[in-house]
C-alpha cells in the first residue's frame, strides 16, 4: 500500500459512494415493491419524495465517478516515478494485475451511471413514472458493479509497493517488479486509421439518422460503443504517436499531460460524452413503446443523438488536427 493523498482520496470516495448507495438500497427496494402512484397515502407521498433523494444521490455518485476516473489516471501517471521501469501511467497500471481491470471497471461504471441518469430523466418526464420499478431494479444491478470496481481499486492500491532503497541493500534488489512494461501493444496504424474514421462516421451518421427519422436507436448505441473501442485503439495505434512525435510511444495517458498541452482532454472529453449519449439513445429505445413515453423518448433520444453526433465530429476533427500538426511522418509512402 502506498500512502498518498490521491490514493486516500480515491479510496475514501469510493467507500463513501458505496456507503451512500447501500444506505439507499432499502428505499429502492421499498419503491420497487410498494410504489403505487394512485394511492394518496402518506407512505406513498414519502416514497415519491425519496425518488428525489435517490436521483440526487445517483447524480452525485455519477459526478464523483467521473472525477475519480480523472484522478485515477492522473495519479497513475504521477506514481510512475515510484516503480522501476514505469515511465507513465501504463507502467503504473501494470505494476500489478488489478490496475487495468480497475480502470476498465471505473469506465464501465461511468457509462452505466450515465445511462441510468438518462433513463431516470426520461421516466420523470412522463406523468405516470412508467419506468420507476425498472430503473430501481437497474440501480440495484449497478450496485454490485460499483462494489466490484471499488474492490478492484482497493486490491490494486493495496498491492502496490514502491521500489524504494532500503538501508541494508543497494539498488539491484529493487528491480524485481514483474511485468512492468512501458508500452502497450498497438494495432498497425494505417488500417486503424481507416477503421477510426469509418467508425466515427458510422456512429455519427446513425445518430443523425435517428435524430431525423427516429429510427435505429439501438444501432446508434451499438455503433457508439464500437466507435469508443476503435477510438481507444486508434489513440494507442497512431494518435498518441502523432502527439508525442515518437514512432514507438503508444500511450493513451501521456496525451493528458501538460507536456503535450493537454491535447488528450480535447479528445477524451468529447469521446466519453458522445459515447455516453449514444448509449443513452439505445438504452431508452427499450421503453419507446410505453404509452406515456411515446412522445418523450423521441425528443430526449433525438437530443442525445444530436449530442453524440456532434461529439463524434469533434473527436474526428481533434484527431485530424493532431495528425496534421504533428511533425511525425508515420504513413510516409
Amino acid at each position: 500500500m502506498i500512502f498518498q493523498p490521491a490514493i486516500i482520496a480515491l479510496l475514501l470516495s469510493s467507500l463513501l459512494c458505496i456507503g451512500l448507495l447501500l444506505a439507499a438500497t432499502p428505499f429502492a427496494i421499498d419503491l420497487i415493491r410498494n410504489w403505487d402512484l394512485a394511492s394518496g397515502s402518506e407512505r406513498q407521498l414519502l416514497r415519491e419524495r425519496r425518488t428525489y433523494l435517490l436521483s440526487t444521490l445517483l447524480a452525485f455518485v455519477f459526478a464523483t465517478q467521473l472525477l475519480a476516473l480523472l484522478l485515477f489516471v492522473f495519479n497513475a501517471d504521477r506514481m510512475a516515478s515510484l516503480f522501476v521501469g514505469a515511465m507513465c501511467a501504463v507502467g503504473t497500471l501494470q505494476a500489478n494485475a488489478f490496475g487495468f481491470p480497475a480502470l476498465l471497471a471505473q469506465i464501465l461504471v461511468f457509462f452505466l451511471a450515465a445511462v441510468w441518469l438518462v433513463i431516470n430523466h426520461v421516466d420523470t418526464r412522463a406523468p405516470d413514472y412508467p419506468l420507476l420499478r425498472t430503473k430501481y431494479v437497474l440501480l440495484l444491478c449497478l450496485l454490485p458493479l460499483l462494489l466490484a470496481a471499488a474492490l478492484l481499486q482497493w486490491r490494486y492500491f493495496l498491492a502496490l509497493k514502491a521500489d524504494v532503497i532500503t538501508s541494508c541493500c543497494g539498488s539491484l534488489f529493487s528491480d524485481a517488479t514483474p511485468g512492468v512494461t512501458a508500452d502497450l501493444a498497438a494495432a498497425p496504424p494505417l488500417p486503424t486509421m481507416i477503421a477510426f474514421y469509418l467508425s466515427l462516421l458510422l456512429a455519427g451518421a446513425a445518430a443523425l439518422l435517428y435524430r431525423r427519422w427516429q429510427r435505429g436507436g439501438y444501432l446508434v448505441a451499438l455503433l457508439s460503443a464500437l466507435a469508443f473501442a476503435v477510438t481507444m485503439a486508434a489513440i494507442l495505434a497512431f494518435i498518441s504517436l502523432y502527439v508525442y512525435e515518437h514512432p514507438h510511444h503508444h500511450c493513451p495517458f501521456c496525451v493528458l499531460k501538460p507536456d503535450y498541452s493537454y491535447q488528450g482532454y480535447a479528445l477524451y472529453g468529447p469521446l466519453f460524452v458522445g459515447t455516453a449519449a449514444g448509449l443513452g439513445v439505445g438504452a431508452v429505445q427499450a421503453f419507446a413503446s410505453v404509452p406515456t413515453l411515446q412522445s418523450v423518448v423521441p425528443v430526449v433520444a433525438g437530443r442525445l443523438a444530436g449530442l453524440a453526433a456532434g461529439m463524434f465530429a469533434v473527436v474526428a476533427v481533434v484527431a485530424s488536427l493532431i495528425v496534421l500538426n504533428s511533425r511525425l511522418l508515420l504513413l510516409a509512402n
Binding site: L37, A38, G40, S41, E42, L45, E48, R49, T124, P127, D128, Y129
Partner: protein
C-alpha cells in the same frame, strides 16, 4: 371546471393521532365565479383549498381539472399544473423578507425560466396596477400590512393563472384594508378570473362580490347556496 369526487384527507393515518380533515367532499366549482368557503377553524376549509390548488394530494378521491383527472399525478407534474392554473394569497402574506417587492412578485415565475426583462416588466406592471409602483424596489418587510398584501396579490398573478385562491385573506387586515382587498377581488372577478376564498369574515363572505358560499363543518360540506347578494 374543477370537480371533486369523494375527497378524503387524513393526516397521520393509522396512528393514534390520526386526523381526518376531509370526509368525502363532492363538489363542482364553475369557472369565472367567486366562491367562498365558510366555516369555523378546523372545518377543513384550508385543507380543501390546498387540495383544489394542487398544494396537497387527497388521501383518496378524484380531482378533475378541465375534465382531466389530476389526482394521481406526481408532484413534479402537479406543481407544473399548479403554477399555470392557480395563484395563491395566504393569510400570513408569506413574502420573503430581504427581497424587494418586485423580486417577491417575480419568484413564482423563476422555475419557468422566462426571459428576465419581460418578467420584470410584468411584475412592475402588476405592482403599478395595485398602486405600488413607488414601492417596487422597497424591501417587503418595510411595507405596511396593506401594501404587503397587495404585493402578495401581485405575486399570485404573475404567472397569469385563471384561478386565484385566497385563504383567510382579510384575517390580518382592518376594515378599511379589507374593503380595499375586496375591491381588488372585484376587479379580478370582472376580469373573468375564478376566485376561491376561505373566510369566516362576514364582511367578505356576505358581500355582494361572492357568487356562492359553501358552508363547511368537520370536513364536510353542510350547505351550498348562492349567496344572498349574488349578482350573477
Amino acid at each position: 371546471m374543477i370537480e371533486l369526487r369523494q375527497i378524503h384527507k387524513a393526516f397521520n393515518a393509522g396512528r393514534e393521532n390520526e386526523f381526518r380533515a376531509l370526509n368525502g367532499i363532492d363538489l363542482q366549482l364553475p369557472a369565472q365565479r367567486v366562491t367562498a368557503f365558510r366555516g369555523p377553524s378546523g372545518s377543513g376549509k384550508t385543507t380543501l383549498l390546498s387540495i383544489i390548488g394542487c398544494l396537497a394530494r387527497p388521501t383518496s378521491g378524484r380531482v378533475r381539472l378541465h375534465g382531466r383527472d389530476i389526482s394521481g399525478l406526481p408532484e413534479r407534474f402537479l406543481t407544473d399544473i399548479r403554477r399555470r392554473t392557480f395563484g395563491f394569497v395566504f393569510q400570513q402574506f408569506n413574502l420573503i423578507s430581504g427581497l424587494s417587492a418586485t423580486e417577491n412578485v417575480m419568484l413564482p415565475a423563476y422555475p419557468l425560466g422566462g426571459e428576465r426583462r419581460a418578467l420584470q416588466a410584468r411584475a412592475e406592471d402588476l405592482l403599478a396596477g395595485l398602486r405600488l409602483a413607488h414601492r417596487r424596489t422597497t424591501q417587503v418587510e418595510l411595507l405596511s400590512g396593506g401594501e404587503q398584501q397587495r404585493v402578495a396579490i401581485a405575486r399570485a398573478l404573475i404567472n397569469e393563472p385563471p384561478v386565484i385562491i385566497a385563504d383567510e385573506p382579510t384575517a390580518n387586515l382592518d376594515t378599511a384594508l379589507a374593503m380595499e382587498f375586496m375591491a381588488i377581488i372585484e376587479q379580478l372577478a370582472d376580469a373573468r378570473r375564478t376566485v376561491l376564498l376561505s373566510s369566516h369574515d362576514p364582511l367578505l363572505v356576505d358581500s355582494s362580490l361572492v357568487d356562492r358560499v359553501i358552508d363547511m363543518r368537520d370536513g364536510r360540506i353542510v350547505a351550498a347556496a348562492a349567496a344572498a347578494g349574488a349578482g350573477g
